[in-house]
């Protein structure tokens, strides 16, 4: 379980996160949605222990999130951060030296499933194949938590579908949890158990996808747009 209590993050005068209380149970795939600048990436980085909160506490399986939490949590950044001269295989070997939970053969199986050539150098791969390789490297870790920052962003629909299928095939919903930020809500919705809606650094809503459909008779994107509009209209925020 991931538990956040009263988490705040300030960058200078800008408040990126304000009083965030959040529980992420194990065995779920949860989407983190919200407009640009709503605090999604900051929240993921804080849980991954890559950024410290200005105040508040974060616990992952009862342990305080610090840099060492990175060994429990597989974080996949939005950006391309790999050495371009590495081959896919070399990238996996590198991951093996960095993470105790990295399973080299699982990463290769994922890569093969996604049709990424193991011997190709990253710089020669298409953008889509680099995305697939990054996903394979991340799923190669046998982590309890996968934190994915915009896993679909910038990819064509075929690559997105591959990444979605890889996630379903190679994560165990009994024991593993995926928390991913995304703007591709329509594509991601069938993959998600629940959605966390962030708006201007606060959690505006946290709801199961099937509940949204069952109770409100709308899909996630309509629900989200409605809530953000209502929030703006109610004028209860002072920073506009």
């Amino acid at each position: 379980m991931i538990a956040l209590e009263q988490v705040e993050k300030n960058y200078g005068k800008k408040q990126a996160l304000k009083g965030v209380n959040l529980i992420i149970p194990p065995g779920k795939i949860i989407g983190l949605v919200g407009e640009n600048g709503s605090g999604k990436s900051t929240l993921l980085k804080i849980i991954a222990g890559l950024t410290t909160p200005s105040s508040g506490t974060i616990q992952v399986n009862g342990l305080k999130a610090t840099r060492s939490i990175a060994s429990k949590v597989a974080y996949m950044p939005d950006a391309d951060v790999f050495y371009p001269f590495y081959s896919v295989e070399k990238l996996f070997r590198f991951y093996e030296t960095q993470f105790e939970d990295f399973n080299y053969s699982k990463a290769c199986i994922v890569a093969q499933y996604l049709n990424v050539p193991l011997d190709a150098k990253l710089k020669t791969l298409s953008k889509g194949n680099r995305g697939r390789a990054k996903m394979a490297a991340t799923l190669g870790r046998e982590a309890s938590y996968y934190l994915l920052d915009e896993p679909f962003s910038g990819f064509d629909p075929i690559v997105r579908e591959d990444i979605i299928k890889g996630m379903i095939q190679f994560t165990d919903t009994e024991t593993q949890t995926v928390l991913m930020s995304t703007h591709e809500i329509r594509e991601a919705e069938p993959l998600l158990d629940a959605i966390i809606l962030l708006n201007q650094g606060k959690i505006l809503a946290y709801e199961e996808v099937e509940t949204i459909r069952d109770q409100f008779r709308m899909d996630a994107i309509t629900w989200m747009t409605k809530l953000i509009k209502e929030g703006d209209l109610s004028g209860n925020e002072t920073y506009r």
């Binding site: 579908e161 379903i168 069938p190 996808v209 069952d214």
Partner: protein, 123 residues
């Protein structure tokens, strides 16, 4: 291939409709083995938890049976499958009647229209 879902209905219900539709069409036969939860989840691109729920509901509806260590099978209970056909027919008629009522057509008018259309098709 991933499938498109309607926006105003839970995904698990749409998947139940999809599987029962396959059974009614005869694409999936009585007693036939269904794919595993994960296989099916990957095929249609949904969360495995959602798929688990679909299989559980189908079993509760008496449409499928899980045999320990062997997987999930469509029931071979013909009575139940006939009932399923009737339930689906009932649902279709219900929504048809609601639609014609909303537009102010009478049942009689529609029945006559269908019969005329049938004769036209046969000629």
């Amino acid at each position: 291939m991933s499938i498109d879902f309607l926006p105003d209905k839970p995904i698990y219900q749409q998947l139940i409709d999809r599987i029962t539709g396959e059974i009614i069409r005869g694409n999936v036969k009585p007693g036939e083995k269904l794919p595993s939860v994960r296989e099916y989840a990957v095929e249609v691109g949904v969360n495995a938890n959602t798929m688990q729920r679909v299989y559980k509901e189908l079993e509760m509806m008496g449409i499928s049976e899980t045999k320990r260590g062997q997987g999930t099978f469509v029931t071979d209970n013909e009575t139940r499958l006939q009932q399923l056909r009737d339930e689906v027919k009932e649902g279709l008629v219900e929504s048809f009647l609601n639609s014609i009522e909303a537009l102010g057509f009478s049942k009689k008018e529609m029945i006559e229209f269908i019969q005329t259309r049938e004769r036209g098709e046969k000629q």
